[in-house]
Amino acid sequence: MPVMTYIDAISRAMWEEMERDPSVFLIGEDIGVYGGAFKATKGFIGHFGPSRVIDSVLSEAAIVGAATGAAVVGMRPIAEMQFADFVTCAFNQIVTNAAKIHYRWGIPVPLVLRLPTGGYIHGGPYHSASTESWFAHVPGLKVVAPSTPADARGLLKSAVRDNNPVMFFEFKYLYRRVKGEVPEGDVTVPIGKADVKREGTDAVVITYGSTVHFALEAADVLAGEDGFQAKVLDLRTLLPLDREAILGAVRETGKVLIVHEDTLTGGVGAEVAALIAEHAFGALDAPVRRVGALDAPVPFAPTLEEAHLPDAGRIVRALRELMRY
């Protein structure tokens, strides 16, 4: 299997889907001639032409609104927010238009919105935010957050083929840091299915995105130094949640640590914890623990950002406390 970076896997998925289906097109700021702020669409305009790789005006509402309109009449747009932070400017188009259209009209909205998300890159409060939990609360949307190149490619291909608006969160921190094997051929990863990234029966870390990698690092530390084996469950999709996989892992391990890069209060982890409390309370050997960012904007200075965001050390400490319970 070829090995590629997380961002190359995303580029490849888009390229393959555009080759496969002429109704797929790209729209976003600086994505054409310039190839995108992160170069995810480098070389696309030369191959697919400016009518399918649209350099848009600087307006997130226009990008998402236009993509929604095009999707309603049968196109399959992939729209890009330059940074997930800027999705606030398109919030109305997403939650008022795109998310409610199928319920109201019975018309599919095959729209993918790519959102380069998250911190660890010294981007400050406006280029580092985690915005996924806002959308995980909106019926009608699907919210996807892959952690590996293979998942990113497979889930993006599924997102393009899905008949609903899919919020596709890409972790900027992983873009070029993470490399992995990506299967050859037209392999998709189903939306709504979590994935065990590390086996273990002493505890489970339920996480997604960037923090999957910190969780894996922490689990290795625990295995080496403490002799405990922690399972790492990568949610991959945040809406709809894979309830079966979550509850199964809880029943198997009895000890749960939920980790995300997003702030704790009202984050996706809160929903996961509620789900566990409601449906698997009897299986718990300890209270559910959560690790997330501080309830604050993502700060700019490296010292502040480091203190703000979760890391492997914090996950190790939380796991040890959990194991001692």
Binding site: V57, A62, G69, M75, N97, H102, I107
Partner: protein, 337 residues
Amino acid sequence: MTAPTTAGAPHERRAPGAKLSNPERLDLYYYMLLARACDDAILRLYRQGKLVGGAYTGNGNEATAVGSAYALGERDYLFPMHRDLGAHLVRGQTVRNIFLQQLARGESLTRGRDGTGHYADPALRIYGNVSHLGAMVPMAAGVALAATMRGEGAVVMTYIGDGGCNTGEVHEGLNMAAVMRLPLILIIENNQFAYSTPVDRQHAALRLSDRAAGYGIPGTTIDGTNVTLVYETCWNAVDRARRGEGPTLIESVTMRMHGHSASDDASYVPKEMLEEWKKKDPLARCEKILRADRLLSQESIDTMKSEIAALVEEAVAFAAESPYPPGEDAGKGVYAP
């Protein structure tokens, strides 16, 4: 043109032309009468406590709604607003479907999930509005984009009010359409009031079409109670868009003759203002000209009105007898398969 499915149906049309034929002028009158009759019935149902939700009428706006939609061809797209019932009817929407929507019935186009004109009917290329005014403009631009990408030769017509045009999304959508030369026509229905707020509390500008200069597109302000003028202005904008020359902004000046909704007594509207505008009632103006041109007689008007009354009465009765959607459907259909 889609053959209207209404009784007293106007004649089959070829593609819309720059100038109206006499039968087409009669069609415009017919649709305005039908729109008003539907609105009157909606108000009656509201007062009888039979309507679900609020009643939003287009009284005073008929010439703008009907004249503009009549300039569209069969393959064009309509993104109407809440005072554009006449535009729905011109596209061939049935009166039954209008009232099934108004009464939130299970057989309505939204299966009771949304009301009024908030439905979509892809067969007629009608995509209804949402309550967040201005949010439809970028979407309409996206449909224009898709139509262009596929070489459909279709244009998109959409509307906004004197209040709603202050939202950012109207600017963002129209600017994108202008930059990309998309086939989009935006009509600002300036009916003097946004709920209770008069237009001079919404805009420092005197002519809302002056905005067009800022987008590098043509803009014009017209008397929105003159159905022929609305038609001809819109036809030219449609023709321009179809030639690939991009959007046009049209300010159609009308008067909202009723309150924002039926629960609004509109006591903030000066009486003299209503009296002045009543003289420009779009139906009366049209009727006067058609009579002068001997295209209408009292007898033909009476026949038309009684046919329309029967049509609306039948549709209201049909909708009223139709069941509500079952409660267990409330959570279904959130996602497309």
